[in-house]
C-alpha cells in the first residue's frame, strides 16, 4: 500500500518535472531568442527522468535490501543464546517474530520474542519513514537539478533517447535472465537433491516411491527416487497421444492445404483454433469425466481389465489437445513447399494423392518431423491433463490399460500440499523439473534447427 502511494507520488513529481522543464525551455528560448536544440517536450522528459529515475532506483535497492538488513539487526539485538542457535532453528524463531509483527493480535508468548518483535516493528517504522524521506529527497533534488540544467543548447533529445535505448536493451535481456533463472534455480535445488540421493540412482533407479522409507540405510531421504518408471510412464502417454495427434493432424493439414477450397478452410480453421485455445485443465476435466469412464466401461464390456485412471484415457485426450498444434505446424510446412514442385508432378501425370505422397511429403518431411518433435516436447511437458486423468502410483509398465504416472504429475504431487522446503521430496521435484527442462530443450533445439535449415532451403 505504502509502496503504491510512494510510486504514485514519484510519478506525480515527474509529471510536475515535465511541465516545469518544458515551460522553462520555452521561457528561456522566448527570452533569449536562441533556437532550442530539441522539441520543447524533450526538455520536459529530461527533467522528468532526472526526477523519477534516481527515486525509483532508491526504491528498488531499498526494497531488496530492507528485509535482510532488518533481519540481521533483529538477530543482533536478541540474547546470545538465541543468536547462537543453528540456522534452521534461528529461521523458525525469525518466523515467529515476523508473525508477531505482522499479525498484531497474535500474542507472542515468549518475552524475548515479544521484545524482538517490538524491536523489529520499530525498525520497520523507521525504515519506511527513511524510505519516504530518501525518495522525496532524490526526486526533489533530481527535479531541481534537471530543471536547472536546461539551456537551449542542451541536447535534450539525445539524452532522452539514450535512456530509451538503454531501457529497450535492458528489456531484451529479461528473456535471457529468465532462462538463466530457470537453469540456475533448477540446478541449484537439484544439486542439493543429488547430495541426498545419488545421481545414478535418480537416473537409473527402477523404483519411485517418495513417500515411504524403503531401505534402512537411506537416512537422509524418506523413500526411493528412481525416475525410470516416471520416464516410461511419460513416454507411454506421449506415444498414445502421438498415435492420435500425428495421423489426424497430418491428414487434416494435407486435406486443408491440398484439397479443401477456400470456403471449407475458412469454416474449419476457426474450429481448429478453438480446439487449440481450450485450456488444458478443461481437457483434464473432460478426460476424467467422459473419456476415462468410457474407456473403462468399453474395456470391461470386451472383457479387459482397465484401470479407471488408464494411460489410454490421458494419452487419448492429450492427443486431441495436440491435434491442432500438429495440423497448424504441418500446414505451414506444406504450404512452404514451392508450387513449382506440385506443377511438375501434375505435368508428369500424377494424381493429387500421388503428388502429395511422392513429392510434397518428402519435400516437407524435415519440417513435419520438426513439428512432431515440438508436439512431443509439448506432450512431455503437459501437466494438467495427466494430473487430472493419470494415476499417482509409479508402475513400470507399457500396458496402456494400466495406470501410470508421469514426470509432471510427480512434480505437482510433490510440491502441492504442505511440506518443508528442504526435504528430499520437494528437492526431488526440482530434479524432475531439470530432467523435464533438459529433455524438452533438446527436442526444441533440434526441431528449431531443422525448421530453420529447411526454411532457408526454399527461400
Amino acid at each position: 500500500m505504502q509502496t503504491t502511494v510512494l510510486f504514485a507520488a514519484i510519478l506525480f513529481l515527474a509529471a510536475v518535472g515535465y511541465v516545469l522543464g518544458r515551460g522553462r525551455a520555452m521561457a528561456i528560448a522566448g527570452r533569449t531568442r536562441v533556437r532550442l536544440h530539441s522539441l520543447p517536450s524533450y526538455y520536459g522528459y529530461y527533467a522528468a527522468l532526472w526526477c523519477a529515475l534516481p527515486a525509483f532506483a532508491i526504491m528498488l535497492v531499498w526494497a531488496i535490501a530492507q528485509p535482510h538488513v532488518i533481519d540481521a539487526l533483529t538477530i543482533k539485538g536478541m540474547p546470545t543464546e538465541i543468536v547462537s542457535l543453528p540456522p534452521a532453528k534461528l529461521s523458525l524463531v525469525m518466523n515467529d517474530i515476523k508473525n508477531a509483527v505482522e499479525n498484531a493480535d497474535i500474542s507472542a508468548d515468549k518475552p524475548e520474542i515479544k521484545a524482538a518483535a517490538e524491536h523489529m516493528a520499530a525498525m520497520r517504522q523507521t525504515a519506511s519513514i527513511g524510505l519516504i524521506g530518501a525518495c522525496a529527497a532524490a526526486a526533489g533534488m533530481g527535479l531541481l537539478f534537471g530543471v536547472g540544467r536546461i539551456r537551449p543548447q542542451l541536447r535534450a533529445r539525445n539524452r532522452v533517447e539514450i535512456v530509451v535505448h538503454v531501457a529497450m536493451a535492458g528489456a531484451s535481456t529479461i528473456a535471457i535472465l529468465t532462462t538463466i533463472g530457470i537453469i540456475l534455480s533448477l540446478l541449484f535445488e537439484s544439486l542439493r537433491f543429488f547430495h541426498l540421493v545419488p545421481l545414478g540412482e535418480f537416473l537409473f533407479g527402477l523404483d519411485w516411491s517418495p513417500q515411504i522409507a524403503m531401505r534402512a540405510d537411506q537416512t537422509a531421504s524418506s523413500g526411493s527416487f528412481g525416475a525410470i518408471p516416471l520416464v516410461t510412464g511419460t513416454l507411454l502417454i506421449t506415444c498414445i497421444a502421438m498415435a492420435v495427434a500425428v495421423p489426424v493432424g497430418l491428414f487434416s493439414a494435407i486435406y486443408m492445404s491440398e484439397y479443401a477450397g477456400y470456403r471449407l478452410r475458412s469454416v474449419i480453421k476457426p474450429f481448429l483454433e478453438i480446439l487449440a485455445g481450450i485450456p488444458t485443465v478443461v481437457f483434464g476435466f473432460f478426460a476424467a469425466l467422459t473419456v476415462a469412464p468410457f474407456i473403462r466401461d468399453f474395456g470391461q464390456s470386451i472383457g479387459l481389465n482397465v484401470a479407471s485412471e488408464s494411460a489410454l484415457a490421458a494419452g487419448l485426450t492429450m492427443g486431441i489437445m495436440i491435434i491442432p498444434f500438429v495440423s497448424s505446424l504441418s500446414d505451414d510446412v506444406i504450404n512452404a513447399v514451392p508450387q513449382t514442385l506440385r506443377d511438375g508432378a501434375y505435368a508428369m501425370g500424377a494424381t493429387k494423392s500421388e503428388t502429395v505422397r511422392t513429392v510434397i511429403l518428402p519435400a516437407a518431411l524435415p519440417g513435419i518431423i520438426a513439428a512432431i518433435l515440438l508436439a512431443v516436447s509439448r506432450a512431455i511437458g503437459e501437466t494438467m491433463i495427466v494430473v487430472m486423468a493419470a494415476g499417482l502410483s509409479a508402475n513400470l509398465t507399457f500396458n496402456p490399460f494400466a495406470a501410470v504416472t508421469t514426470v509432471t504429475v510427480q512434480i505437482v504431487t510433490l510440491l502441492v500440499g504442505d511440506s518443508e522446503f528442504d526435504s528430499a521430496k520437494t528437492l526431488a521435484a526440482f530434479a524432475l523439473g531439470l530432467l523435464l527442462f533438459v529433455i524438452t530443450l533438446v527436442l526444441n533445439v533440434i526441431a528449431l534447427r531443422v525448421v530453420q535449415r529447411y526454411r532457408e532451403r526454399y527461400e
Partner: protein
Amino acid sequence: MSDAVAKSAAGSPAGRARMKRRYAAEMRFRLYGIAAIAIAMAFLFLLIGSVGIKGVSALYATEIRLEIFFDPAIIDPDNTGRPSPQADYAQLYRKALLKRFPDVKERRDIADLASMISTGARFDLARMVDRDPKIIGATQTVWLPAEADIDMAEKGQINLSAPESERRVKDSQLKWFSSLQAAGDVEKRFNERFFTSGDSRQPELAGIWSAIVGSFFLIVVTATFSFPIAVMTACYLEEFAPKNHWTEVIEVNINNLAAVPSIVFGLLGLAVFLGFFGLPRSAPLVGGMVMALMTLPTIIIATRSALKAVPPWIRHAAQGMGASPVQVVLHHVLPLAMPGILTGTIIGLARALGETAPLLMIGMVAFIVDIPHTPLDPATALPVQVYLWASNPERAFVEKTAAAVIVLLVFLIAMNGAAVFLRKKFERRW
C-alpha cells in the same frame, strides 16, 4: 492430367485396371483427410457438448419456500432492537419446517428434515435481519437454498431407484420434498450465488466470484509486466539491435523459451519469487509475474511480426523528414503496428488466463472463501478453481466444475473475439 496420357493409359486392359486402382487410391486418400477433419471436429463437439450439458444445470439451484417467523426470542433475546451476534438463525428455518410438517417428532427425523435446507441459509436470514431489523417479530415468506443432495435429486442426478442405504438422500426426505413440491414450495431459480460468492465446502454455496477476481488481478499483473517489456524487447531486436552474436543468442533464447513447459516456469516462480525474494505465497502478484515471463515470448514474437509488417518506406519517409531513429520507431512505426501488437498480446493473455500448472507451483491452490481485494491477497484463479472442484469427490461439484469451465470458456472466447475484431477492424494491408 492431360488427355493424351489418359487416353494411352486407358488403351490397354492392364492400363485401365491401373487407372482404376490409382483413382481408388486417390479417393481413399481424400477420405482419410476428410475422416481426420471429421474426427477432430467430433472431439471438439464432444468436449464442448459433454461439458456444456453437465454445466447448464448449475445455473439453476433448487430453492424451498418457507414461512419464516423471525422470532425475537432467538434473534434478539435481550430486546436491544438489534440482532444478537450469537443468534442461531438455523433455529428459524428449523422451526418453520417443523411447523410445516407437524407430525415429525423423532430427533433423527428432525435432523434429517432440517438438513434439507443448506446450512448457508443461516447467513441469508442473518443478512435479511441486518438489512432490516424491523422484520424481527414478523413472519415472512422466504426462498431458501436446498441442500446439495436434495438439489441433485431434484435435478435427476441421483439414482433414486437405488436402495436407500446406497444413496445420500433418505426416503423420508424425498417424501417431505415431494409434499413441498406438490404445494408449489419448490422452485429451480437462477443460481445468483454461484456468480457472487467465493468457494465453499458446501457445493450449493460454492461460487466462482473469488476465482474471477483472482483471475482478473492475475491478468492485470501479467499485462502490466509483460506488455511493456515485450514491446521494448521486440522494438530493440527488430529496429535497433546490431546483428551480432549477442542478439542472436537473445533470439534463439526467446524461441526456446516459447517452448519451455509451463510447469517449469512455475518451478522458477517457486524458487526465485517465493524462495529468493520472499514474496507472499498464493498471491496473484507472484502468479502474474510468472505468467508474464511465460507469455513474454509469445508477445515478443507477435510484436516482431507486426513491426516487420510495417513497410520500410514509412521509416524512410520519417527519416527524410528529419526524425531520429527513436522518433521513427516511437512516432511512426509503433503506432502503425499497434493493432497487430495488441492482437498478439490479447492472445498471449488468453493463454495465461487458461494456464493452471504454474499456479499450482506457487500455491494458488488454496481454499479461498474471501474475495481478494488486492493482488497481494491469497487467491485462486478460474482454471485452478476448475481443478480444485474437479478433484472434489462430491457428486454435486461436477456440475459446478462444468459451469466454471463454461465461464472460463466464455471469457476466453470473449478475449479471442476481441483479438479477431481488432485484427479485422484496424489491420492495414500495405
